[in-house]
């Protein structure tokens, strides 16, 4: 299976390697948030333990990046489904899990590359954070992107048209983002908003990222966030593999 996963990964990463600019283009939205929204928080947000607002905002925006890159990954599957590439691969002995994981691995790698660029930009804008925390945060974001991309591919298999897939993805990602405190800590909000945010797995990812970025590695937020992300990853991969398999005899 690892061999099959690598084969599928190399196949799907091909277009990215041929035109690496696509890595930048697909993260323009996140960069805009960072550059045009981030500075607004400089005098607004004071969080205990954080040197400046960037230490709070950058980890949030990192989760937003993982969310967008992951959740929109399914769009890359649609032309392949139409062209018969997926069926062609399904009539080979290749592992069904690898058909999914190879693509997920591509999105994890792309997210990592984007995240490095994002964090460099944040550093240029004034973010200061411990290196270990940043690296751990990056890994967590990569797994999160993998979980979301597995879910996105599974949705794309069920809704193999842009006009069906796009509205579903849009209407899922926006509430997930707003209810996770990506832009501003959800602690600022009223009780009901905080209560709703508790059912959103992204909330725990954001809390864990923020703790990592201030170097608080032993915080319960970190443990909870990592556990939630890993569980969600396991579940979405399981769900995705099942639906790749279900379409077969």
């Amino acid at each position: 299976m690892p061999r099959d996963t690598l084969l599928v990964f190399r196949h799907t990463i091909g277009p990215v390697l041929r035109s690496p600019a696509t890595i930048l283009i697909s993260m323009v939205q996140t960069i805009l948030y960072l550059v045009l929204f981030g500075p607004l928080l400089e005098d607004l947000v004071r969080v205990p333990g954080a040197a400046n607002s960037w230490q709070v905002f950058a980890p949030g925006i990192l989760v937003q990046l993982a969310l967008f890159t992951g959740a929109f990954a399914g769009f890359a599957l649609l032309p392949d489904l139409r062209a018969g590439v997926v069926e062609r691969m399904r009539v080979t002995p290749v592992s069904r899990t690898a058909l999914l994981l190879g693509r997920v691995l591509r999105d994890v790698v792309v997210t990592m590359a984007q995240a490095v660029l994002l964090l460099l930009a944040a550093t240029a804008l004034g973010m200061r954070a411990p290196l270990v925390g940043v690296v751990l945060g990056l890994l967590l974001a990569a797994v999160l992107a993998g979980a979301l991309s597995a879910a996105s591919y599974t949705m794309a298999l069920a809704l193999p048209n842009e006009y069906q897939f796009a509205p579903v993805v849009q209407s899922v990602t926006l509430p997930l983002m707003l209810l996770s405190g990506v832009l501003l800590p959800i602690a600022f909000g009223p009780d009901w908003l905080r209560a709703v945010s508790k059912v959103n797995p992204l909330t725990y990812a954001v809390d864990a990222e923020r703790a990592l970025f201030v170097g608080d590695y032993g915080a319960t937020d970190v443990l909870t966030g990592v556990t939630v992300v890993l569980v969600v990853f396991g579940l979405t991969v399981l769900w995705g593999t099942r639906s790749y398999r279900r379409q077969n005899a």
């Binding site: 099959d4 196949h11 062209a83 590439v85 069926e87 062609r88 009539v91 080979t92 002995p93 005899a249």
Partner: protein, 321 residues
Amino acid sequence: MIHVRGLARRFHTRRSTVDAVTGVDLDVAAGEVVGFLGPNGAGKTTTLRMLTTLLEPSAGSAEVAGHDLLREPALVRRRIGYVAQGGGCSPHGRVREELVLQARLHRLDRDRARRRVDELMDRFALTDLADRPTASLSGGQRRRVDLAVGLVHDPAVLFLDEPTVALDPRSRAHVWDHVRSLNAEHGTTIFLTTHYLDEADALCDRVLVIDHGRIVAAGSPSELKRQVSGDVVEVGSARPSAVAEIAGRLPGARDVTTTATGVRFHVPRGDTALPELLPALVLAGVSITSVQVHRPTLDDVFLAMTGRPLHDDTQEAPVAA
């Protein structure tokens, strides 16, 4: 090589159920070229997708390339090649890349994959196109890539879904040549679907006519044609009634009609009837001006079996997705 019993598939849509295939039995021997002939929506592609492990049958059983379709789909996949109607080239892939990937997915190691791909590119005249994006190829070129992709692992059975649909006549002839030589030189069993009668006629040892999800006729193209109406013989002569009398004595002759300039009649086989007819006419001193034998086409077969012409678009069953 393929044994199918009672294979059926029912699709459920929100409002209705569609029986795309309703109990197909068929057997294909090793080395045969068998064609599935029928109009759009007859159940050809659905059957093919079941036999290639892409779609779960609602009922029935099948053995493909020596393995049970339902219990050992992974083993079936190792031994079959499948070329879908639209091909399966990645929109952003390049020719060699696509072929190597497919060979590697079929568990060939790097060296064997490279050798096999070089061999196939040579056979399908793709060597000059090796680094071209598949999206930039012509229809005929892309079809050759599709065929090569289906053959990377030298399958025992090759499934072709409408192999020449939307191809120009020259590319079509090339595909036919490749299919024939694949069968003749490599002994590959070939199962194809088509809604072109001339294609079934040109390629297939045996034709299965499918309509509304079931097989309505089976046999070699010439058997099927004979089964329908026999051949039509037309004889030109200044003495039609004398010709008609002699022709009427031929074994199996029927529907003898005379016109001012000749005679027209049906016999089971025109090619064997003529050597009897001509000496008889000479012996009787009847001179003739022309002789023609019309063999029925598979169009006539389809019409006789189903009561409607093959390309009658008004009666199409819904195409199952």
